[in-house]
Symmetry: C2
Subunit: 510 residues, 2 copies
């Protein structure tokens, strides 16, 4: 079946029936939340166990089960490797990994894929693991979901988790925990909520056991079966990866300035403004320039949703925004802020972007500024693969923010080195054209023709070009890039946040 972004989607892959994507607001669920088993812990029972191995035994982990992790420690995480190594040592095989995301620090999992410990992954892949999947595939295709889509899939039982192993930077022996305090503090713990609420078993892993009751309570004791203390859950300095630096490129700074200019001219930048900004170099610059503009013009925003950085914290501190809703803290300044500022509030990724709730936060956002590896003439966006076909990034909150925000702006340079970013067709559709409004490049701004209201609003106030013009400019400069060499084998499925399928990713021929 050809779906609403023009991609041919098989009816079934590896026994999994696929739902065809029919548009961002076409699918209404008729099912129920997953009902996890009722538990019972009597007053004399203890939950603190001496080791990860004990926890694996106690929860009864077996061949073929699914385990999950959050990625709040990002490239500093130690817990995924600790747990999977232990599982491997115990001789358990055929595990489905359901992390919110994996990073280069998890490269050694490739060894556990090769030895049959891990045979399936549903989760975002950043870097080496994605590249491995692109070149080799797993027994089943990897399922890629947005942050909101993952929460939805877990809540509905589509992604059934047998055991969630949740890193916490502080916990008590009964499982109350958070990520805001302690030597390994990583801030908001938004990913962990869906796992805690709907996994059949939950193990909290901490390197900072404190007297009962630990507060603030991000994940409460009632969801936690066991607690294990380890020496280190990871290195929080790994949270701030390369993408957390503000851009120094003049071209990219121009893009950021143009975003603010566009919002101002379009009449969107006014009291009550709300937005979501990511952590890429351009997004950080947008946040900084927005801050400056709002302050200069006495505009006070209602909230910022994130992925929160120190640049957003600065806005809260001087009253340029009233509140921060934080599902994931992107730098150590944000980590510090969430622990001490009452206006900086932790929210789950269910709250952030799960489309099958009574309304998530993205629905309330005026604007979002997102990156892309490619954008095409139809305004479809790719964030997963590069033009060579390699799967190197997760979807993140991209689909969610784009679907919910009044205006979704993609901030991209026209060229990356010798590669054009605007393509005839994106290599992979990560976020559908129906939810993308404006493409801001260093060589011009294009508006999705479906947004006639927006085109009308900025007419005569700001220069707009046809996206075809941007495409031609790029091709004139660098030519069309080589088509990726792909086999027919499907190595990954790109789910839309509602569970329908946007695209598939095929194996790259070496």
């Amino acid at each position: 079946m050809r779906n609403a972004v023009g991609r041919e989607i098989p009816e079934e892959i590896a026994g999994r029936k696929l739902i065809t994507y029919n548009g961002p607001f076409s699918f209404k669920p008729d099912k129920r939340q997953y009902g996890k088993p009722l538990k019972c812990v009597f007053p004399d029972e203890k939950k603190l166990l001496p080791s990860i191995r004990d926890a694996i035994k106690k929860v009864g982990l077996e061949d073929g089960m699914t385990i999950s992790f959050h990625h709040h420690l990002r490239n500093g995480d130690a817990v995924v490797n600790l747990v999977v190594d232990e599982i491997a040592k115990m001789g358990i095989k055929d595990i489905k990994l359901a992390p919110s995301a994996l990073f280069p620090v998890h490269e050694k999992l490739i060894e556990h894929i090769k030895n049959g410990v891990i045979t399936s992954i549903e989760g975002s892949l950043n870097g080496p693991l994605g590249e491995y999947v692109s070149k080799h595939g797993l027994k089943e295709p990897v399922v890629l979901r947005s942050h909101g889509g993952r929460a939805r899939a877990i809540k509905s039982g589509e992604l059934h988790i047998d055991v969630a192993f949740l890193a916490a930077s502080i916990a008590d022996e009964y499982g109350n925990c958070n990520g805001m305090l302690g030597k390994s503090a990583f801030g908001a713990m938004g990913f962990a909520y869906a796992d805690a609420l709907f996994a059949d078993n939950v193990v909290v892993i901490t390197d900072n056991l404190q007297p009962y009751p630990v507060i603030p309570i991000s994940i409460p004791q009632i969801y936690v079966d066991y607690v294990v203390q380890v020496e280190s859950i990871g290195d929080p300095s790994g949270i701030q990866t390369g993408t957390m630096q503000i851009t120094r490129s003049p071209a990219r700074l121009t893009i950021a300035k143009n975003v603010v200019k566009f919002l101002a001219k379009a009449g969107i930048l006014k009291d009550g403004f709300s937005f979501q900004a990511g952590a890429g170099g351009i997004s950080l610059a947008v946040t900084k320039f927005l801050h400056e503009y709002m302050k200069e013009n006495g505009i006070v925003g209602d909230f910022v949703m994130g992925g929160i950085t120190g640049f957003v914290v600065d806005m809260l501190m001087d009253g340029t925004i009233r509140k921060i809703l934080d599902a994931q803290s992107f730098d150590l300044k944000a980590v510090e802020s969430i622990a001490k500022n009452a206006g900086h509030v932790e929210v789950s990724h269910i709250m952030f972007g799960d489309p099958h709730t009574c309304g998530c936060v993205v629905n309330r956002q005026n604007a979002c500024f997102l990156g892309a590896t490619e954008v095409d003439l139809n305004f479809n966006v790719n964030v997963n693969t590069h033009s060579d076909g390699l799967l190197l990034h997760g979807i993140g909150g991209h689909q969610d923010a784009a679907a919910g925000s009044d205006i979704t702006m993609i901030t991209v340079p026209l060229l990356r080195g010798r590669l054009p970013v605007i393509r005839k067709e994106v290599t992979t559709v990560s976020t559908p054209c129906q939810t993308i409004d404006v493409i801001v490049t260093d060589r011009g701004i294009a508006i999705n023709p479906e947004r006639e209201d927006l085109i009308e609003e900025v007419k005569g106030k700001i220069d707009i070009v046809d996206i075809g013009e941007l495409y031609k400019k790029a091709i004139n400069l660098v030519g069309e890039p080589k088509e990726p060499k792909l086999s027919d084998e499907i190595v990954a499925i790109v789910e839309y946040r509602d569970g329908s399928v946007l695209d598939v990713i095929r194996k790259v021929k070496e």
Copy 2:
């Protein structure tokens, strides 16, 4: 079947199959949590409705459905009457009411029982409604549950709620809300969590609509289908009922002092101490005397769980305790504190006392001090009925606190007027003997003979009497009270917190 507190329990009442109570820690659940329907609210959809009637229509309330409420505004609540009046006006009949509790302010519901709007109640009954049920019964027996038991029943789907109407003293138009701020602030909103999480539909009713996003977020938007603004959700001065005054009776002050003395002599009062105190006059005095004792002796407690009063807030303020876990604020000083003190934390009644979780807070309590209408020679406790058989009170957190705490102390005068409190057999078993440890009266202290450890601990340090002695003392003074005149008809079921049945309550002959 005769159950483990010696009561004859029918196998079935009105089509409801009953599970026999076999002891406080005998029943392990093998079922799953209720899976509520997945929802979907697209970005352009609004949730704020102009009236309660609109909300009732939108959620599709029909004859025979179940609606729920929390009772945080206690005798000041306006929302139950507002909603039920509207339902009656709309001609909807045969409604099951599932409030956490009803108070004298809800007496007018009797009219809606008589006219067939309400035909069934599962919830605590305080005062006139209980008396009405005692004398007349409803179509089905009322089901009485503890706070933890109610949370469990809702979570498991045993108590299925079609629509929860949740009063909030502040809310935004998307449903984020709490009870801590605003003119009608009532503090913690612990009861509302189970309803929000597991009711098929949730309507937030507020008299204080504020810009999005309202924080702190007690109930998040993702659970809230609709929001309605009304003129007043009630009068918070009704939270502080008569029982919120510290006792002035010398006999009862003696009881309170004896509780502290007992705890001290039994070696329980030491650093890390934790307790739950209720709101009765004696409990308040216990809290005050505990505070004084701990302060004098440099003892710092880990936490107090409540039902929180200003007396507990005082302990937090001067560092006598480290944290307050608050599911229900019992006076306005507690309401004020939860809104501003970081160490005063809201928790749900799932967290407080639901036995079918990974462990609730009561499991962690060193001690609790609870009242009773009657105690019997077997140490069973009645809090529901009076000796004349009238149902006048809910179970509250009594069963939960008693089951979880290391030591459960019942604080009662030997006599209430001309009525003895110690009975051969309690009129109704509300909390089972297996969870009751010490009876502290103004005429002596009795220890449950099953607690040999405790008897050993205080031997020679404190005078202990046999409970039979206390009974005889009372009977010598006032004689046996008249047996209540009861018919065979069962008007209420007393569930234990795990869902098994402790006792039934029979109709009182007029």
